[in-house]
Amino acid sequence: MAIYKRGYERYQGPLTSHWTRVLVLPRFAWRRLFQQRLVLILMIASLIWPLLCGLFIYLSNRLDLLQSLPGDIKNMLAINGKFFLIFMNVQSVFSVLLAALAGPGLIAPDLANNALPLYFSRPMTRVDYVAARIATLVGLLSLVTWLPGVLLFWMQAGMAGWTWFTKNWYLGAGILCGFGAWILVVSLVALACSAYVKWRIVAGGLVLGFFFVLAGVGQIMNAVLRVDWGSLLNPTQSMNIIWSAMLGVEPPSGPGVWVCAGVLIALAVLLGLVLERKLRAVEVIS
């Protein structure tokens, strides 16, 4: 029967599971995100560098010319921790840009349109809501971070052979865990900014400002005060130090790995508190 001829009937059938419901939000969000041209363009642009890296891995394993280069130059072009660290640093910039573009559209419109009571009057808690929003960003950022990273690692492992893999397996684990931690930090920053300001464009600017302005402030502090802990203000630098340790590369000068990890954990807790405070079904003015 045509839909317009049917009357309303209450649904009496089985309901979906809890986690299926939670994953509804990312599914709808991804559909809307990939309808935005800017997100698509940025996504494509962010895959250029992994393609170039893939090409380099292929050439370095296949071209006799590269194999026959003198030792020093050959070492410079080797596929090792340093190679993957450069890859991760470049992709981290794209992930910040993508988060700044996609993140604010996840929470700010819900707050601006007072949509939270609609979500929270359904079988969905605030934790579910935040988990769903983080899952949206994790899915999106994974496409430009650890997924191509792990693919490159397996490509190198496949071409270089079992010996290379047994010696360098930690690179794959480092890429996965390092990008996992980075995605979590970036997602929390994007969501907290989105929850803090209801205007989407301003929230996007705030995300970029958080990473790029803080980096500048950290550098200025290091230069003016002749210290190295200014780098702690720069989440990108802190993460770079952690990645270096994970990939077995000599870390850049600055605070130790554990200090950086502690600062990033503290930052994550702080951002979690912002979300806890801002995401409520109703605002209570005491």
Binding site: I3, Y4, R6, G7, Y8, E9, R10, Y11, Q12, G13, P14, L15, T16, H18, R21, V24, L25, F28, R32, P109, D110, A112, N113, N114, A115, P117, L118, Y119, F120, S121, R122, P123, M124, T125, R280, A281, V282, V284, I285, S286
Partner: protein, 333 residues
């Protein structure tokens, strides 16, 4: 019979202010399709009570249960049985109505295909069929109200909580909204909680009414019973010699008071057939000029409950009749 809503000594503080001060009541019957009107002056705690029922606030004492589930500890179970239409604008501006309802349906646990089907079905049901592919941001106020109602019922809940559903609606849209609410309870067996400032809307739709004032229930009644009891209060105006009327009616168990000039105010006993009154007047050869049921409007009940009225007209009539009966056994003043 399980009550749809059971509230036991519910107390709620927001900040240092106590909003709900020990509310206790049992409302509706599970699966019986009853509508409960929630009334009260501004700041009485109506919206806070609704939000507490939905688990948005943690009560500091007492409990509230919906269909037997605790609203705070079993919020997820409660919410899977409830549909909520908030008072203020709540939507996702850049979604089409169909996508919005699909999303809301799926979040409530409908499988994706069913949610899409139900979204279309409900939008036609509330009269937004032709506008279902428009984004919600382009809707008029009346259309947004209907979209809010649609999202509240898309998953077929057992209880629908409507906070000021007729706000900002023109008369025809208001009638349509009330018709839909009546259908929800009468045809689909849903329990409905209707929170409104418009007493006429509540009177038209609801079976029970609760009046809140300063965080307390000051009146709770069954409107159906009120309507039935209203039928006992009659104003009669006759022409002719009515001196024997009091004696005849007293014999039938009625209480009455004469206002002179053939005007009588009568309290009929329960199960009294109005036809008997016609028989008595015919027997006494009296011409009936006027016979009306005197009823308390919800407005009068409300005004009395919030302290703006000493007694409802019905209560005054009853008190007058009792006083007259004490002075003169046949009710003549």
């Amino acid at each position: 019979m399980t009550a749809a809503i059971e509230i036991d000594n519910l107390r709620l503080k927001l900040g240092r202010r106590e909003i709900l001060k020990g509310i206790s009541c049992r409302l509706g019957v599970s699966g019986a399709g009853k509508a409960i009107g929630l009334l009260g002056p501004n700041g009485a705690g109506k919206s806070t009570l609704i939000q507490t029922l939905l688990g948005f606030h943690r009560p500091h004492a007492g409990s509230a249960r919906i269909f037997g589930f605790d609203c705070h500890r079993q919020a997820r179970e409660v919410r899977s049985h409830v549909g909520y239409m908030p008072e203020s604008d709540s939507f996702i501006a850049n979604l089409t109505a169909v996508s919005f309802l699909c999303l809301m349906g799926e979040l409530s646990g409908l499988p994706a295909e069913t949610a899409l089907e139900k979204a279309h079905e409900v939008l036609f049901h509330v009269g937004l069929g032709e506008a279902r592919y428009r984004t919600l941001g382009t809707y008029s106020l009346g259309m947004k109200q209907m979209a809010k109602l649609a999202q509240a019922i898309v998953h077929g809940p057992d209880l629908v909580i409507l906070d000021e559903p007729t706000n900002g609606l023109d008369p025809s849209a208001r009638l349509r909204m009330l018709k839909l609410v009546k259908e929800m309870k009468d045809e689909h067996g849903m329990s409905v909680v209707l929170c409104s400032h418009l007493l006429r809307d509540v009177e038209e739709v609801c079976d029970e009414v609760v009046i809140l004032k300063d965080g307390l229930i000051v009146h709770q009644s069954n409107l159906e019973e009120e309507r039935r009891s209203n039928r006992r209060f009659v104003e009669l105006e006759v022409s002719g010699d009515d001196s024997a009327l009091a004696a005849h009616l007293s014999a039938l168990g009625a209480e009455m008071v004469s206002e002179g000039g053939g005007r009588w105010r009568i309290v009929l006993p329960l199960e009294f057939e109005i036809a008997r009154l016609w028989q008595v007047t015919a027997q006494l050869n009296l011409g009936v000029r006027k016979l009306t049921h005197r009823r308390d409007s919800l407005e009068e009940i409300f005004l009395k409950a919030v302290g703006h009225l000493q007694a409802t007209p019905q209560e005054r009539l009853h008190a007058d009749a009792v006083a007259a009966e004490e002075v003169s056994p046949h009710g003549h003043l």
